[in-house]
Symmetry: C2
Subunit: 229 residues, 2 copies
């Protein structure tokens, strides 16, 4: 039996690695897209390559987005500082919001998916820990899917896209437990928004705080090297 | 009085040049995005630069999309031939359809617009001559705008995006008359899907046929150099 094909967005982070493992476990052959946009955490690209290799990804496409497209604390050279030790679960939109990022990422997944005959797209978005991001909410993914099936040949001709968000309502600890059960090697993944030159995580940004707490709550040893914790 | 700012998608073609002129005439300061994706008509990039200069575009960003993202007759190296002398107004989706192209282009416009504080996006899409493209239909632009205002901070915080499609229901001859009235120099624009090495148009592809007929119907001299006509 021939497997179905899926396009998975692979950032090199914990969530996208788990998402890819879930897609693989569901019987999909994987093709991956990884984006470089001058983000501070360029080390994620190297992580994405290792994760793709560990999951037998067929084709892995790297896409460069000019940094001037985005104004965000996540983009190198931005004058906005990465917030530290903030309350990560409040409802404001964080300074680390990157304008229309998931919209661009998913648009590429549509184009690539339509080109290679894949109609299933997997993205590791999460609406629990990142409730402040407008493009991580279920209503966004519904609107995107609807738009995708109006604006593509595949959608118009009755072979619609599905955008899968298997982590959307999971807590970080639940994501880690799921990935651990599927054999994800989290030492290959990276979460920190502000790593040092050697790739060591800061231990203070939103993403580090959420990651640490996730491993703690899951009762799984955290393989991450933090500068402070 | 300070002008409003708009992001305009500038391909180097006749439609996007006219669209930019309309936006400028409506009082917008313009910033432009031009995409390179290995398309056969790379000469359009040079045209886009000249058009941007003629319209005093503030910042002009060039974006490279890896050719392997798209499978289409328009992309260099594709095994799909550009169709010649077909009936350009039938209702099939043409082989020159590029998967999710306008979705990607508009997604970049959202990100860039949100970054620079622009909420107005202009795209020269046309639903009359290109009725076969799913991403050139009014229902697509409605779905895209709706998605955009759910998935961005600007939309969520009550500063919504507007996607302007001033050419959507115009015939090519009407577009040419409008642009001529606004002083667009159409000798700077390029339409052919299959130009030769010197940038001369084929005179046979859909885009050339529609362009020729447009100038003829408008009663405006066509400044284009065609290999055959």
């Amino acid at each position: 039996m021939k497997n179905k094909t899926a396009v998975v967005l692979l950032s090199g982070g914990l969530d996208s690695a788990t998402t890819a493992a879930i897609a693989r476990d569901s019987g999909y052959d994987l093709h991956a897209l990884t984006f470089f946009y001058g983000q501070r955490h360029g080390i994620e690209i190297e992580c994405a390559k290792k994760i793709a290799s560990s999951l037998s990804v067929g084709n892995h496409v790297f896409i460069n987005i000019p940094a001037e497209i985005f104004k965000s604390a996540l983009v190198t050279g931005s004058s906005i500082d990465v917030p530290k030790n903030r309350n990560a679960v409040d409802n404001d939109i964080p300074a680390t919001y990157v304008p229309a990022r998931n919209i661009i990422f998913l648009s590429y997944a549509l184009a690539y998916g339509e080109s290679i005959g894949a109609r299933d797209i997997f993205i590791g978005a999460n609406a629990v820990d990142y409730s402040g991001y407008p493009d991580c909410r279920p209503e966004f993914f519904e609107a995107f899917s609807s738009m995708a099936n109006i604006g593509t040949r595949a959608g118009v001709e009755g072979s619609p896209f599905s955008v899968h968000t298997p982590l959307l309502f999971l807590k970080k600890s639940e994501i880690i437990l799921k990935g651990t059960a599927l054999g994800v090697d989290y030492s290959l993944t990276h979460s920190c928004y502000d790593p040092d030159g050697e790739g060591m995580s800061c231990g203070l940004c939103d993403s580090c705080l959420i990651r640490m707490k996730g491993f703690r709550d899951a009762g799984v040893p955290d393989p991450t090297r933090y500068r402070s914790r």
